[in-house]
Structures are given as C-alpha cells and as structure tokens.
Amino acid sequence: MFLKIIRRSFYNMKDSYLIYILSCSFAVGMFSILLSLVDNPRLKSGISSWSASLNNITLGFSVLFIFCVFVYMGFVGGFFIKQQTNEFKTFEKFGMSRWTVIVIGFIQTFVVQLISWLIGIIIALIFQKFFGMLLLYLMGVKTGFMFRFTGNIFSMLWQICLYSTIVFSIMNSFRVRRLLKKNKDKSERTPRWYIRLPGGIVGILLFISGILVTVILFGDVKDSNQTAAVAELSFLFVAYLAGTYLMYYGFLPSFLTILQHTKKIAYAGINMFSFKYFKERLTKNVSILWFITELSSLALILLSFCYFGYKSIYTNYAYAHPFELTANQKTVDPIKKYLKENKSQITRSYKTTVKTTVIQRGSNNEMLPGTFISYSDYQKLPKSNIARNPRITKKEFLVLDFGYTVPGYASDKSNTAVVKVKNAKTIKTNKIGSAFPYGSTMYQGLMIVAPDKYYQKLKPEVRNTFYGWFFKDGDRLTHKQYEKLNKQEYTSGVQIKKAANLADTKMTTDTDRRNSSDTSVYMDSNFSRQKNAKVQVNQISGFGIFIVAMFSVSLLIALGSVLTLRLLLRDDSEWKQLKTLNKIGVSKSEIKEIVKKETIYSFVIPIIFAVLQSYIVIALLDRYPKTTMVIPFILINLGYIALYGIIGFVTYLISWRSVNQKLS
C-alpha cells in the first residue's frame, strides 16, 4: 500500500521530479568528474610546473561545488513535500499514523536522492573522458587524457551519496512532521496591506538609494577614497539584500493590488483574475525570487571578476614578455651560442643600452633604481612593445611604473609623476605608462624614457644592455639550455645603500642571488622567455574557463530549475481556479497567456534586479586605467540573460504543457 502511494506521488509529479533528478544528477556528475580529476596522472604530467597547486585548487572547487549542490538539494527537496501537504493531511485524517506518513516522506526523498546520485555517477563515468579532454584542450596541453576512476573515488562518492541521502531524507521527514502539525489559516499566512505597503516603500527606497550610492561609489573608488568606499559597499550590501526582499514582499504585491483596484484596468478581460493570481503566486514565492535575484547578481559579479582576472593575467603576460626572448649583457653570449647551435631562425633582433641610477618616486620619497633609456633608442623599438604607453615627443619624459596602481602619484590629482633623480634634474611629467619595452621582469624599479640630451648628461651608477629577439617557429631552446640560463653565474641586480638624502645614496651591482631577500637589493631576471609564460598563462586561463563555465552552467541550471519547479508545482486550489476559468468561458489561449505572463514575470523581474545590483562591479573594477569594464560587463550580462532566457522559455513550454494536460 505504501509503495503504491509513493509510486502514485512520483507519477503525479513526474515532470517536476524529472527536472529535479536531472538537475541533481548533472550537479553530482560534475562534482564526480571534478573529484576524479584531482589525482589524474595525465593531468599531473601535462602541467608538471603547477600540478600540486592544481590538485589543491580542483579539490577546493569540488568541495565548494558539492556544498552548493547540498544547499540546492536541501532547499528544493522541500518543494515536493510541501506540494503533498493536503495528501499527507488526508492520510492522517483517514487514520494513518503520523509516523507512517513521515516514513512515506522519508522513502520518497531517499529514492529520489539515490536515483539522482546513481545517474550522476553514471554521467561522470560516461563523460569523464570528454570533460578531461576538454580541460586539456582549453589548457593547451597536448597529451591525451586517460579515463581514470579509482576505487578511492568510488568509495568516497558512495559514502557522500549515502550520508547525504540519509540526511536529506531525515530533513524531509521533519518537514512532513511540521506540515502535519501546522494548522494555519489563510489570513494568517498572508500579511495585510498595511504591513506590505510600508515594507514595499522602504524596499524601493533602499533599492533606489543603492543605485545612487553605486554612482557615488564610482567617484570614490576612482579617487581612492577607501574609507568612503568601504562604508558605501557596506550600505550597498544591506540596501540591496533588504531592498530586493522588501520589494518582492511589499512593493510588487502592493503594485498589483493598486492595478487590481483600478477598475479601468481590472475590469478589462482576464486582468481581474490574473492580477490576483500573480499576487498570490508572488506572495508564496517571495523567498525564492529573492534567492534567485541575489544569486544571479552574485553570479554576474563573479563572472565579471573572473573575466577581469583573466584579462589581468593576459595583460601582465603581455607586459612581462613583449619579445619572444630577452637577454641582458650577462646572458647574451650563452643565448646567442644556443640559438646558433639550435639553428633558430631569428626574424628580428633589437639591442638597447640603458643607464641605471637611484631615483626618488612621488610624494612618499621612496628610493628605487631608475633605468633610463634615450628617446631615440625608445623609438627604434618595435611598435607593438610600446603601443600601450602614451605617446611622447622628443622633449618629453615618459615614466614607466609597475602595476596599475601608482603609489605616490595618487595625491596628485593631475596624475603627474614627480621623480627626483640623483645628480640630475627632477622629472615632472604626466606621461605615465606601464609597458616596459623589454618586459617588466627584466629590471626592478622605474624605467624612464628621457630626451636624448638628458640621457647623455646622466651619470649612471650601473650600465646595462638589453637584447630582444623574435623568431620563426620559436626560439628552439632546449630544457637543458633553459635550466643553464637560470644559473647563479648569470644573476645580476643592484643594491641601494640608502642615505639621508638622494645625493649621498649609493647604488652598487649585486650578483649574489642569496641576497635577494634583502629589501635594498633589486634582482633582475637573467632572461625572459615568452614561451614558458605563454604555456602557463594558457593553462591557468584554460583551467579558469573550465571551472567558471562548469560553475556558471550548474548555477544557471540550479536557478532555472528552482523557478521552473516553483511554476510547475501549483497547489490544488491554483489548478482548480484555472480549470474553473476554462469552464466559464476563458479560452485555453487566454489561460496560456496567463501562464506565459507568469513565466515572464518570474524570470524577468529577478534578472532586472540582478543586473541593476551587479552594476556595482563596474565601479569596483573601473578604477584601473585602460581597463574599461563596460563592454565586457554588457557582454557577460547578455550571455547570462540569453542562457537564462532559454531556461525561461523551456519552463514556459513545460508549464503550459502541464496546465493544458489538466484542462483537457
């Protein structure tokens, strides 16, 4: 008998159960694949340089992923129990003991969870190789992926499956127990307008003030006004979270109530019913809509940050390795020898002499090495290496500083670099760049492009020459040669012996790598090879894209399925109302319109609020020069909305199918 009841409940909610099981299976499958990648030997060998970090990162993401999956399972699993409230209460009225009803709830959840895990693990077994190959492809690793699912992984998955299934089944048993105990009447459940209306007004005020504060935040972040920015961010956090909730709780239902009382609108066709129907559905789903809005907003912010992270890595890489191979005067001879031995085909080669002396940067008077290059030599460098810097005339200075932030210049509103140079004139310029023509790793401190006259007069404490090459088919350096170039004998750097003033401060060359931990020692790279960095950048970017795509798709499926399930799981009274409408002469196409509008509102309103909230990310990231986040942000949003829209459309089709079946 119990099995018959359980089977019947599965049959009655087959569409909803199918969506839930598929979503859970997908998530379990992704988790199992991530977990199985942690100790895959092919992955380790393919990226030997950072394989230990990759293992830890993958494991970390697996844990984060399964945590999110558990939140989803715990939250959504309760929908099915709630849907059966009337059924469970009837069983109890007919004399079934409360304990038996609870056991029915337990078994239902247990079966569904177990099926989800089994399908998920099968998905992982089938698709592990595909996802592994995809990961290696994205990372640019050219080894083949080997299918590997160890006994350890199986045992771990089985244990997680068993324990989580038992926990969720017990959780739902408690839900059944609570439902059987609860006996609230309708008026108790729906707060009155005099609570909703003020709540809604506060909500909309908070949300609008959030948008205004975001605009103020733009200015404060740009001016590096950290105290104000932190206060604004704290306010935004509260304003958006509370404001969005209160808008769903109070503003939107009040708005629908106003429409419903506006006779001109309400007395026209189906509006009289649909406004009230939407309001009832909205009131029941406030927490879910709020949850989806905030998670979507978080997803958009995270995606924007991920894009920015990728962009930063790529920009750093481009700044660090403008030539395919770079050498200084210490490494030029062995490198030339290796290139000759390897018959490397050099397409272009460059050579520039530089002078290094002590300088004092900006308002904080920090003493650093300053490497000078003459305007004429600078102009002879490849255009691609200097294109990111501002253009200068032969009489102007150009200061190249590290990173995006320029400490010491911030106090100067006009963004003018003030650099004091030992035994030379102080430089004042508003031409500040960060693209070091031989790569940022080749020298420490600042680089300054100076007019030829200034350069010739400058008395340096250290001289150096940089060499850069481009090749046809790569530099062909072997691993052994590469290792040799890293040896101590090629190490070079400078040490600053600080004095009370700049004139007395001295700079000496330092060739002992052991001194590099000393803050007064500035060690240069012996050479810079684009290929090595490129491989690592590709691997990190590929891994990032893989993880972000996996999380984004899973998050979208999870959020979409939550909304889909809420729309599908109409209670008896809601079904009855749609049927009655049809009986008294409302056509199916008009009811379809109600279903369509309900789906549109349920999907569109959260995404609008989410996009408005996530706009904050532009304020946070737009402080960096030449990094405009507006277009990527729009593209990320459009991509997210497109995928979200597809889920919405599918939801509409499923929702209408179930309504149509009930009406027929």
């Binding site: 309708k186 006779k263 001109k264 309400a266 007395y267 026209a268 066709g269 189906i270 509006n271 009289m272 019913f273 009230k276 129907y277 309001k279 009832e280 009274s573 009855k576 109302q577 009655t580 409408l581 049809n582 009986k583 008294i584 002469g585 409302v586 056509s587 199916k588 196409s589 008009e590």
Partner: protein, 256 residues
Amino acid sequence: MQIVVKNIAKDYGKRFNAVHAIKDIGLEVKHGEFLGIMGPSGAGKSTLLNIISTNERPDHGQVLIDGIDMTGLHDKEQAKYRRNKMGFIYQSFELLDSLNVKENIILPMALNHASKRLIEQNFKHMTKLLNIEGLSKRSVDDLSLGQKQIVAAARALINSPEILFADEPTGSLDSKSATILLNYMQLINDKEKTTILMATHDAFTASYCSRVIFVKDGVIFAEVVNPGDRNKFFEQIINMQRTIGGGSYFNVSQNN
C-alpha cells in the same frame, strides 16, 4: 435558443476499463424551455450537461445550438460561445478562491469587456435580487455553502445568459435558499425566455422544470412533461424515480 443533441456518445477510460458514460443520446430542447435531467448517480447526467455546454467533447454525435454545430467548433470559439451565451451553476460552486465575492460575480462581464458602469449596475441589481448585498467584499473562503451557491448563481446570471446550465444547483442549499434560487431561475425562464438545463437528484427541485428527462446507464429512459400543476408534476417525477430505481432514499420513503 434551440438545442438539438444528435446521437452523442462518450466513453471514459481505455479499452477493457472503458466506462460508457453516454450511449447514443438524442434530445431536443426548445427555446425558453426549463429542462430537468434526472437519474441515479453515475447515470451520465453531468456528462450530458458538460457535453451540451461544450465543456467536454463527445466521442460521437453532434450538439447543435441554434443550428450551429458546437462539436465542430475550435476550443477558442467554444470558449467564446460559453462566455457570451451560457451561464453555469455547479454543485461544487467553482468559485475562484483568489477573488472576493464581488469579483467572482462580475467576472463574466469583465471577461466580455463590458463597461464599468454596466458592470456596477448589473452587480447591484443581482445582489439585491438574491439578497447578498452584504457579502460583496467577503472572501469566498469565509462563506457558508449556501452563500457560495447563491454567489455562483449570481455569477451565472449576471450576464443574462441565453442558456443556463445548472448541475445540482440546490445540492448544498437549505430549503429556503433552494427555493429562492429556484424561483429566480423560473422567473428568468419565464420573463427572459432563458433556456435552462438542470441536472438534479431532487424531485422537488425538478418540479420547477417544464419537462424532465430520466437518464439511466447512459441513455434516456423516460421523460415527464409538466402538466401545469407543480404538485401533480412532483408526484409524476417521484413515481418515475420509483420506476427506474432512484436509490435508497425513495425506497425508504416507500417503506414508510
């Protein structure tokens, strides 16, 4: 509105589990007629009513209303016809929980995009007539069963339908409320010439009709025409129910 039902049949279920709810029924209802449909539970009364009112499609046969073949119409056209020409009173009321009493009553007019003034005017008239003026702001959940049925009747009648379908309209009402409702139905039948089709178990309710057909096992078994005297008609209905075996209720009265 003349209704002609031609050889309709309707089965529920599939193959071996199929139940023949209606087996080849033919019927003619004249314009302005008040027709009662009686019969034991499961005889097919509600199915017949649902088919004539286009809420269900027959497996075979035709339903012609004023010469229009309703079975050949598209769902959308059927719905439009129901909305414009028909009113419904169900035993289970079929009121919309989301709407209050007033909104439930005026819904058919709102669906027809009637003017605000006309809606208010008809609403006032209807609530006064059925003596439910005090209920207009109440929620449907707060009404008694009798009140719910009166509200359902008001909704069915506010649009002045040309055909009124009533499925056990007095099933949930006490005798006083039932009499008020039946008197009103008779009134609109007489004055407006509204065609009324009413399925009922109750001989007293059926005695308000001008003609009663008896359905048994999916076919029309007999019919009784009102001779003009309601008491006599009531007797005839009771006798017919005894003949077809109307259930334990009649057997008990016979024993007494």
